[in-house]
């Protein structure tokens, strides 16, 4: 399974980014092999609608689940349509979060968890 974790610096073992639509990077991880790669978030500089655009990017990259700090209503609505599962965490590196994801201890959300963000 391929998942994406939001990240401020594109690294595997430093703190993740709690921001979704406007995180600097996504770390794509293959949960079976542990192989990972860092991808710059193309929605970072969007004037508006960063959340849906980030999801569009993840959907095109065939991501099946995502981990971040919070999801706004537009991001969540798009994730739902794309069939991407949404998980949240308070802290941890992508490496830690991968372990928690694999052990089934991460919280999966079924609705938006944060307010709408504008510009």
């Amino acid at each position: 399974m391929k998942i994406a974790v939001s990240s401020p610096d594109g690294k595997f073992n430093t703190e993740f980014s709690p921001r979704f639509g406007r995180c600097q990077y996504f770390i794509f991880i293959d949960t079976d092999t542990g192989a990972w790669e860092s991808k710059p978030n193309p929605a970072l500089s969007a004037r508006g609608g960063a959340g849906p655009q980030a999801v569009e990017f993840l959907a095109k990259s065939e991501i099946e689940a995502t981990i971040t700090g919070r999801y706004g209503p537009n991001a969540y609505k798009t994730l739902e349509a794309a069939g991407i599962r949404a998980f949240i965490a308070d802290a941890g590196s992508p490496e830690d979060l991968l372990n928690r994801f694999n052990s089934g201890t991460l919280e999966e959300v079924k609705s938006a968890t944060g307010p709408e963000m504008h510009h």
Binding site: A46, G48, Q53, V55, E56, A59, T78, A82, E116, H119
Partner: protein
């Protein structure tokens, strides 16, 4: 003649100037309209006290996607400059609050799967004041992010923008709503306070009027506080200082009670008449209408 009142910094006294100016001109028997374009927080009506009896909704036209005709090709999302449409998982999602109503998606959809439906984002209210000022303002609905369509509609509403003298009370700042408010006006009064903050935002607001090619002059409000930075800047830029309003407790108290500057101190009638003449002199080519 169309005169806009702008500032950059909020709370410098745009509405104080706009309402007193409209009142003085109306008393001088000009036919005057006042448009409050600060649609995110309109407050001129508190001072002008018009009888609001005309109302109109402001809609923008947003796409509605017929899922049976849509084949998920994504052309709509590609042409949308505002990312108001996203195609994921075979679904086409519309985010109404991001849509600017440009219609590109409808035009470009190869399957003709998109029709446009009205989406209310605000409303206009208008009416006459007891002194005969034709008044109108826009109110952006709570949660809606786009002020510009409301301002644009207000400026075309019921001939308010065609009176002999049109006073436009602009929102603060220098972003799109300000540009939309100032656009097409003959002159802009930049209201500032003589502080570093006032100066910083005056520079920006003056930049907007220059870009739009609108002649401008400055009113210094709360004169007596701060420093001489604004004055020096006006001198350097050749910007006219049209009027100064001293910092006075009495003015602050009166404004807080919903009185216009003219009602607080009737002696302001003459400076505001002179203000109009100064602006008229600065614009030899502009007719009164």
């Amino acid at each position: 003649m169309k005169i806009s009142i702008a500032s950059g910094k909020g709370g410098t006294g745009k509405t104080t100037i706009a309402t007193a100016f409209a009142q003085v001109l109306s008393r001088a028997k000009y036919s005057v309209s006042l448009l409050d374009c600060d649609v995110e927080a309109p407050n001129s009506h508190i001072f002008i006290k018009p009888e609001l009896n005309q109302f109109e909704d402001v809609n923008i036209w947003i796409p509605s996607v017929n899922a049976e005709l849509c084949n998920g090709c994504g052309r709509c999302a590609e042409v949308c400059q505002y990312h108001a449409i996203v195609v994921v998982g075979g679904q086409t999602l519309v985010f109404p609050e991001m849509c600017h109503g440009c219609g590109s998606c409808t035009l470009e959809c190869p399957e003709k799967a998109i029709t446009e439906i009205p989406n209310k984002i605000g409303q206009l209210e208008g009416g006459l004041s007891s002194e005969g000022i034709k008044f109108g303002h826009g109110i952006l609905d709570i949660g809606e992010p786009m002020a510009v369509p409301v301002i644009r509609t207000l400026k075309k509403w019921q001939g308010l923008n065609e009176e002999e003298i049109v006073i436009i009370d602009s929102p603060p700042g220098t972003s799109c709503p300000v540009v939309e408010s100032l656009r097409g006006t003959d002159y802009t009064i930049l209201v500032t306070e003589p502080t570093p903050f006032g100066l910083h935002d005056l520079r920006q607001a003056y930049g907007v009027t220059r870009e739009l090619g609108i002649p401008a002059g400055v009113i210094i409000n709360r004169d007596g506080i701060g420093d001489s930075g604004v004055e020096q800047y006006c001198k350097e830029e050749g910007l006219d200082i049209l009027m100064r309003i001293p910092i006075e407790r009495k003015i602050g108290q009166g404004i807080a009670r919903g009185k216009t500057l003219l009602e607080i101190n009737p002696e302001y009638e003459i400076p505001f008449q002179q203000l109009y003449l100064k602006i008229k002199d600065a614009l030899p080519g502009v007719d009164q209408i």
